[in-house]
Symmetry: C2
Subunit: 187 residues, 2 copies
């Protein structure tokens, strides 16, 4: 569970905080294509992605739009569902056979209420996700799709091979045809 532990520690957990969290983790293994979180349902568990790749997406009448990819060490959850106990709007699909560690919200909130270090760990977790969400948003609005594609390739070179281009195109906010044109341009 090294990826998961590294993630927990990166949020400022000391050995005590870590020791409290680890017993809560329940390992689960899912096949490629498994829908971990389904839109419209309440899902009060959070998952550390130990091994595999995931995408978060919304479905429309006809098509679905991917808006996030998760890799080893990332946390998978339905924000609204997990934090506010309301039905979530997004689904999360595992794009490869994956190993996750699950924590039910109830266990976590109990620790948060009792232990100030845990509460601050949870605060830093939310803050770090917030900064990432903000950066993604700004990036999206500020840079053309071609630049974002280039950065995507630079930052996650292996994902290009692990994820279908259709998903990447919808993540970048362009049609797959446009993404093909972008790729053709870089040669």
């Amino acid at each position: 569970m090294e990826n998961t532990i590294r993630k927990i520690e990166s949020l400022g957990a000391g050995s005590e905080t870590l020791a409290r969290l680890i017993p809560l983790l329940q390992e689960e293994v899912f096949p490629k294509g498994h829908i971990l979180i389904r839109e419209g349902k309440v899902e009060r568990s959070l998952f550390f992605l130990e091994k595999g790749v995931a995408r978060a997406y919304l479905t429309n009448e006809d098509r679905d739009v991917t808006f996030w990819f998760g890799v080893e060490g990332d946390v998978l959850l339905s924000l609204k569902s997990y934090f506010s106990n309301e039905p979530g709007y997004e689904s999360i699909e595992l794009l490869e056979k994956s190993v996750v560690y699950k924590i039910p919200y109830s266990s976590l909130i109990e620790l948060y209420q009792r232990d100030v270090r845990m509460a601050n760990w949870g605060r830093r977790f939310a803050e770090s996700e917030l900064i990432k969400a903000d950066e993604r948003f700004i990036n999206q609005q500020f840079k053309p799709a071609a630049d974002r594609y280039e950065e995507f390739v630079r930052d996650f070179p292996d994902l290009i091979r692990r994820i279908q281009l259709g998903h990447i195109a919808s993540y970048l906010g362009v049609s797959q045809v446009t993404l093909s044109r972008i790729r053709a341009g870089k040669r």
Copy 2:
């Protein structure tokens, strides 16, 4: 300071938490056009917007892109700067004469370390901002500019009159000409 207090209470602060926070608030008044937070600088204060309107934006070589509007009761801060003590990438401008209440990060973090209720208040603050950021992001990617404009008008009817269309257009991710066409279509 009713807007600020309402905001603090909406994040689950009881009377004790409120009583600890209020003494930290320093009122400041700024004229229209004041740049509250400047990109590239570290700003370790957070501001509750008691009165006024604000926009967060990034500057490019030639133009600037607005990516957020704040109204009474919203919190103004440079995320990266405030939470990570690094230079922020965004600027925040006050679009009207405004009243804000300022809290230095150092005061807040001290409370967070000592008091589990405060830490959980801070956690909920970050979580609620995270949910909003996520919704904005999804909205942006999922819906065409015309729909987003309609929602903007519906949700903030008064802002249309308080904010220049150029800022709104860049917020929606389209040129001002396109926004004019959208507006013309709705008649």
